[in-house]
């Protein structure tokens, strides 16, 4: 084993992620190599220090009960007045039944903004739908229609696994000049088809529609009408 091979394995061993045979090979190398010995010792020291000193933030007293209050309105403390209970119950109902659409748009826009940060945009980089589509297999619970719209100026750049509302979402990334657009695809949970509708949030435009059991959200900062045309193309309307 060479140092170049050993270096990444040192960390895997430290984290208990290395198989037994490789552990033996690695230790054999490290025992003969002062540089790798130092590297391993240094990593070990950091990890020990982190485990010893790194803080586990403890919630304030009663916090867990406060958290649960919103999901068990009947057990609200008696100190509350009847009105407050009614209001809280109504709020809970509203929160549960609320326009999950808006929450979804909110999250899609946040996820889009996140993807614009460095190294967040793409897990798989390819303009070929035959590469992008299978990449999602087993990651989201549906087949992802990854199409390229390069001829219309929206080239498929690749895809990324994202999360919306705590569930896996396929994010397809398109380039349009210097703009990046995210097409989020999630399970529509049995909702019927719906044509593209537009929302604007924090400077981003979001077109959403439902088609064939999947919900789509196209997010970007390209001009609204242009994005709308693309959304209708994607939805198979135009």
């Amino acid at each position: 084993m060479t140092c170049a091979e050993a270096t990444p394995l040192v960390e895997l061993e430290l984290d208990g992620e290395l198989d037994a045979r490789s552990v033996l090979e690695l230790r054999e190398h490290v025992s003969r190599c002062p540089s790798c010995t130092r590297h391993a010792a240094s990593l070990r020291a950091l990890s020990d220090a982190a485990r010893e000193h790194l803080r586990r933030f403890e919630p304030p007293a009663g916090f867990e009960d406060r958290l649960l209050r919103s999901v068990r309105p009947r057990r609200i403390s008696r100190a509350w007045t009847g009105t407050a209970i009614a209001a809280a119950a109504a709020a809970a109902v509203v929160l549960v039944a609320m326009p999950r659409r808006n929450a979804l748009v909110e999250e899609a826009v946040a996820a889009h903004a996140r993807s614009l940060q460095i190294d967040h945009a793409l897990d798989v980089e390819a303009s070929d739908q035959h590469v992008v589509k299978p990449w999602f297999e087993g990651k989201v619970g549906f087949a992802v229609p990854a199409r390229d719209y390069g001829s219309e100026g929206y080239a498929l750049a690749g895809g990324r696994l994202d999360y919306l509302e705590g569930r896996p979402a396929a994010a397809l990334v398109y380039r349009h000049g210097k703009h990046l657009l995210n097409l989020f695809v999630v399970d529509a949970e049995g909702d019927r088809d719906a044509p593209p509708k537009r929302d604007t949030l924090r400077g981003f435009c979001c077109w959403r529609w439902t088609s064939a059991g999947l919900r789509y959200l196209l997010v970007g900062d390209v001009e609204e009408a242009q994005m709308g045309a693309l959304a209708r193309r994607m939805a198979g309307i135009d």
Binding site: S42, L46, A50, L67, Y163
Partner: protein, 179 residues
């Protein structure tokens, strides 16, 4: 299964993991009041989706929702506020703020505080991976599940986090390692 809320079942399964959720939220969004708001939102969301919980690892399931709420919050705040640790998050390493004390002494007396600060100063995605690994003791697979990143990405984030921490915390001996 009825989707009608099952608060009892929800509480029994998820409550044991609220402390881990709180810890993660504090590490990610930092401000106690913000962390509480984010958690409140996350727990509502978890409750709403509880029927999709299939009895797999409850901690990972809950933490996935919590971290996504945290990231949404960070993204929102990132736009509302001027900087979210823009300086500290830049790729270059911030030079060590040396106090007039021999470094060995400094390391011993101040190690707890220093490591706390330096981990807090990591870019959020590195910080997240490092905290889930070293504080929660999660495996790569669990971290990948929670963060929605491929395992290779988890490994490289952890590795980057460690290299930055070594460079910031350690003296000469630690720097020697990575290269």
């Amino acid at each position: 299964m009825t989707d009608a809320a099952k608060p009892g079942e929800f509480e029994r399964t998820m409550r044991p993991h609220f402390r881990a959720a709180y810890n993660l939220a504090r590490w990610l969004v930092r401000e106690p009041a913000d962390a509480e708001d984010v958690l409140q939102e996350a727990v509502m969301r978890a409750f709403r989706h509880f029927q999709t919980f299939r009895g797999e690892r409850a901690r990972s399931w809950l933490l996935t929702i919590v971290r996504n709420s945290c990231w949404s919050f960070i993204a929102r705040r990132g736009e509302a506020e001027e900087v979210f640790d823009e300086e500290r998050d830049s790729p270059g390493l911030v030079p060590l703020q040396l106090v007039p004390e021999p470094e060995a002494q400094l390391l011993r007396t101040d190690q707890a505080k220093r490591i706390q600060e330096e981990v807090a100063a990591l870019r959020p995605e590195f910080r997240e991976a490092f905290v889930l690994r070293e504080v929660e003791g999660m495996s790569y697979k669990e971290i990948a599940d929670v963060t929605g990143a491929p395992i290779g990405t988890v490994m490289s984030r952890l590795s980057r986090a460690r290299r930055e921490l070594q460079a910031r915390l350690g003296g000469e001996a630690r720097k020697a390692g990575g290269s």
